[in-house]
């Protein structure tokens, strides 16, 4: 969060329009949902990698060897390349990964805009590592390293880095990956090493003098993170309902985005693109930011919870957090129904926090209870006075 604020501050000082507050908050909300739904996966006990390792490993590679560590990191990065590539080239996987590309801005908050449904199929790509014998502890270590590495490359503030751009994934070549420009589509899938792209023919260098337009060709046009996660599944569902015969229906999910065609991709005119903007009032942006700040400790709490000890409570907490992000997202869009839902949410949370013996296992002090009740009440009163209007502009390509 601190790095996001630093980047936003630096961008502002340089006069760069790198951040849009509703878009950045939506990215953070996606990150929140992605983290808390991970709790549900924990409940489902889907530690597939560990299970495959336990049942099918060829050998037990020593987790404390540097050589094995380097091998595991390289193997993970290689598997990640293919997972990421298939995430773009196969509809059912793109439906999950599209979330990460739905922001029309490119900044560190975008890095946190993560999918909540990627866990359905993502694990399959790493099974060769389990079969070879990379122990789960080492696997999770290199997975975290690979993931953390990819955070810093989501920025427009760092330019080209010379030879590093040709070996590693860097801000420059990852900007290309997030672009909608014709030359950017389906390029630069690497996690740490861009060498995989050079090896498999998917590398593209950032072009001087051609502004990159970020986002997806069919713009999301929403700040609702649940819809952000489900919109492409909805598209595929509709398409498969219309398809005739079960093979065609199934084929929709396996085809590449755009279907099985050898025709070239439609040209994208970068000059006419307008970013999605709901003209959210400054006060509402502040309100949303404050609500997000209050959600963060709840996320930390739920991640630290022993969810298996109280599964129903955990599910309830997850739903509450998701509902918060949806309400705030819809408020940012200026939807009137969100005002009523948000007021109801504030009322319920205020009452619950004060009256419940403990807040999902957290024994809050009286001062904290009173403070949160006051905050909920003040938010409620303020919100009731607001006139919510929806006036979106910018819907991707204006032509």
């Amino acid at each position: 969060m601190l790095t996001v604020l630093i980047e936003a501050g630096l961008a502002r000082r340089r006069g760069l329009a790198v951040y849009d507050i509703p878009d950045a908050l939506t990215s953070l909300h996606h990150g929140v949902i992605s983290e808390v739904t991970g709790v549900l996966w924990k409940l489902a006990g889907l530690g597939t990698y560990a299970l495959v390792y336990a049942n099918f490993h060829a050998t037990e590679l020593p987790a404390d060897s540097w050589l094995i560590f380097v091998f595991a990191l390289l193997a993970y990065d290689f598997c990640y390349y293919w997972q990421h590539r298939m995430g773009h080239e196969m509809n059912v996987l793109w439906a999950a990964h599209v979330v990460h590309h739905s922001s029309e801005y490119y900044n560190l908050a975008t890095a946190l805009r993560q999918t909540s449904t990627g866990r359905f199929f993502g694990w399959v790509f790493y099974l060769p590592m389990a079969v070879i014998g990379v122990p789960p502890t080492l696997f999770f270590t290199v997975a975290v390293i690979d993931l953390l590495y990819q955070y810093w490359v989501h920025t427009e503030l760092i330019g080209r880095l010379g030879w590093l751009d040709r070996v590693f994934v860097t801000p420059s070549n990852h900007r290309v990956h997030h672009g909608q420009n014709d030359y950017c589509i389906d390029k630069n899938y690497g996690g740490i090493l861009i060498l995989w792209d050079r090896l498999f023919g998917t590398f593209a260098d950032e072009r001087e003098g051609e502004k990159i337009i970020y986002g997806i060709r069919k713009p999301l046009q929403s700040f609702n993170p649940v819809w952000g996660n489900l919109h492409y599944y909805n598209d595929l569902w509709r398409e498969s309902v219309q398809a005739v015969g079960w093979r065609a229906k199934l084929g929709v999910w396996l085809a590449p985005p755009g279907g099985w065609t050898d025709a070239p991709l439609a040209h994208f005119d970068t000059a006419t693109f307008v970013n999605y903007d709901c003209k959210t009032s400054s006060a509402m942006r502040w309100y949303a930011a404050i609500q997000y700040t209050l959600v963060v400790p709840c996320v930390v709490q739920i991640l630290a919870m022993d969810v298996k000890a109280a599964p129903l409570l955990a599910v309830l907490y997850v739903l509450l957090i998701i509902a918060t992000t949806v309400c705030v997202g819809l408020l940012l869009e200026g939807r009137q129904i969100a005002q009523r839902f948000e007021m109801l949410r504030l009322l319920l949370i205020g009452i619950a926090f004060v009256t419940m013996p403990d807040w999902f296992g957290f024994d809050a002090s009286v001062i904290l209870r009173v403070a949160l009740a006051m905050f909920s009440l003040a938010s409620l009163v303020w919100l009731a006075q607001q006139r919510i209007e929806r006036s979106p502009v910018g819907a991707g390509n204006t032509l």
Binding site: V52, L127, P256
Partner: protein
């Protein structure tokens, strides 16, 4: 010297590899499913040659073969004009999906899945073969049926395959099934 179990898997690996190499471009779904069987059988050769490291991979690829390669083979034979049968990427994606579903179900404790899916697939192959009215196709499908029966019963009928163990019999019957399948496709294309 190679033992009888390893030899039977070697035969299966060779037949499947030949089929995969022959039809890699023209019938990708068939080639990919044969390829999976070839990999599984190759690990089997090592495993039965007492190379312990191959045990896990052999079991893993056998699971992949049962839960993904068999259904893909059935698709390739029942709907040869489908995108999945014709396009290499479509076939690979179907294989991926079947692997994901197969492994998830197997790990969730429903071990019967790896037996049900091959049975359904082979029955589909029998129907497709009987429609084609080609002796080689029909025999090929029946060899697969016999192979699965042997695997399910855990023993080979003595009057048919007396000297072989169930494992060897299954491997030979599968190899014969793939061989007949290849023969029927070859004779179809050569006419």
């Amino acid at each position: 010297m190679i033992n009888a179990d390893a030899l039977s898997d070697l035969i299966l690996a060779l037949v499947c590899s030949t089929l995969a190499a022959t039809y890699w471009r023209t019938r990708p779904a068939l080639a990919q499913s044969s390829g999976v069987f070839a990999i599984a059988a190759s690990f089997g050769v090592l495993r039965f040659s007492a190379i312990e490291i191959a045990l896990g991979p052999h079991r893993f690829f056998s699971l992949v073969a049962a839960s993904a390669a068999f259904p893909l083979l059935a698709i390739a034979l029942c709907w040869p004009d489908d995108e999945t049968a014709k396009r290499d990427k479509a076939a690979a994606r179907m294989l991926f999906l079947l692997v994901a579903i197969g492994i998830a179900i197997h790990l969730s404790g429903f071990a019967l899945w790896r037996q049900i899916l091959p049975v359904v697939s082979v029955l589909m192959m029998v129907i497709a073969a009987s429609r084609s009215k080609q002796a080689a196709s029909i025999f090929g499908a029946l060899f697969f049926v016999a192979g699965l029966l042997v695997a399910a019963l855990g023993q080979a009928p003595e009057f048919v395959l007396g000297p072989f163990s169930a494992t060897q019999a299954m491997h030979y019957l599968m190899a014969a099934g793939f061989g007949m399948l290849g023969w029927s496709l070859y004779s179809r294309t050569s006419h």
